[in-house]
């Protein structure tokens, strides 16, 4: 098996989690905090845009279907704004939505992870995706 992810991998990283489901948000937050991240949360796209006025996260993890403003609309806004267009956004897709994955990439999401979030695989998959992001390739080596 591969090396365990060090507890300090995301130390000093601000991360934004956008998720309307209370438990999914809590679970994602706990996993990211466990590896040192400073986690900010928003319950929909509109709240996420408000949070982004005050902090600049290294990456964003966002659900797709949310009330008020969906993840789809959020990604469109972020891509259209030069301040945010370079921040990688990982979509959280539900199990059965096969077509969503291709749609998410086409919409500008950097990549996607499939729910349910499991501690065993979530961080490993997330870090693997982020390692492929050019700006992170050196800071996420472990």
């Amino acid at each position: 098996m591969s090396n365990p992810i060090p507890r300090t991998l995301l130390t000093g990283w601000a991360v934004l989690v956008v998720e309307d489901d209370y438990d999914s948000k809590e679970i994602a937050t706990r996993m990211l905090k466990h590896y040192g991240a400073q986690v900010y949360t928003a319950e929909n796209g509109e709240e996420a845009l408000a949070v982004l006025e005050t902090i600049t996260p290294r990456f964003i993890v966002s659900d797709l279907s949310m009330p008020v403003m969906t993840g789809w609309e959020l990604i469109a806004r972020l891509k259209a704004d030069a301040r945010f267009s370079d921040i990688p956004v990982i979509a959280l897709t539900a199990h059965a939505m096969i077509g969503d994955k291709e749609k998410a990439l086409a919409a500008g999401f950097y990549n996607y992870l499939t729910k349910p979030l499991s501690a065993g695989s979530f961080m490993r998959e997330l870090v693997a995706l982020l390692q492929a992001f050019p700006q992170f390739s050196e800071s996420l080596v472990y």
Binding site: D23, H95, L117, A119
Partner: protein
């Protein structure tokens, strides 16, 4: 409905997995054992819910078959990758045999075909403790045929039809022993029929089983440019 069923269950397995991972501090062996059982049963229930929803979707006519050109060899490589891992865990050999005259492209719905074949392959691994599982792909007159053979426990003659019924395996103790939900073959046969094909089985008790998927797949008139 799917969202309403999955969301609370995802919360249960999610919190369990982060606790098991030690994110709230060390846990002792007894707590670890019990949490592992919570996770295992939660994942089993999630699999069951997903299959029930799949079946409901098929039965209500909400599944659409979307045929398009695909490369059967590439598809089988994906199966080899996914199933090879399961086979290796049980120290079973998994072989793929494709006849030479298999065309480079066929027209069918690769997602639905994969759903059926992966179900047959994972069943074969599940019910085989030693020996091998073989996938044999060939053209049989106008039909594309995939045979999944195993050297597993086999199916008694009286159960050959029954295994395609909902929530049935060859005997009642079987789901406990072998896991699974008892819906995989029902879904697979339904999907095969939706693709105008058939799914059948031959088996000898104690020697193994062969599941035969036959689909009327067309060969595209023009091949894509190399």
């Amino acid at each position: 409905m799917s969202h309403e069923l999955r969301t609370p269950l995802n919360a249960i397995t999610g919190y369990t997995s982060i606790t098991l991972e030690g994110m709230s501090g060390e846990i002792d062996d007894e707590a670890r054992f019990m949490l592992q059982r919570v996770l295992l049963n939660g994942e089993h229930l999630l699999g069951l819910i997903n299959q029930i929803l799949d079946l409901a979707k098929i039965e209500s006519g909400r599944v659409v078959i979307m045929p398009r050109p695909f490369n059967p060899r590439e598809l089988s490589e994906q199966w080899q990758k996914q199933i090879g891992v399961l086979a290796a865990k049980k120290h079973i050999e998994f072989l793929t045999v494709i006849e030479e005259k298999m065309p480079p492209m066929l027209v069918g719905d690769p997602e639905r075909i994969s759903q059926v074949v992966l179900n047959l392959l994972s069943n074969a691994i599940k019910f085989t403790d030693k020996g091998c599982v073989t996938l044999d792909m060939r053209l049989q007159q106008n039909l594309w045929e995939v045979r999944v053979s195993d050297t597993g426990v086999g199916i008694p003659p009286h159960a050959l039809d029954l295994i395609f019924e909902e929530f049935r395996q060859a005997d009642n103790s079987s789901t406990r022993q072998h896991g699974g939900t008892g819906l995989g073959l029902t879904i697979s046969r339904n999907l095969s029929r939706m693709m105008n094909g058939s799914l059948n089985v031959q088996s000898e008790l104690g020697k193994g089983s062969t599941f035969i998927l036959q689909l009327p797949l067309a060969i595209p008139d023009t091949l894509p440019a190399q």
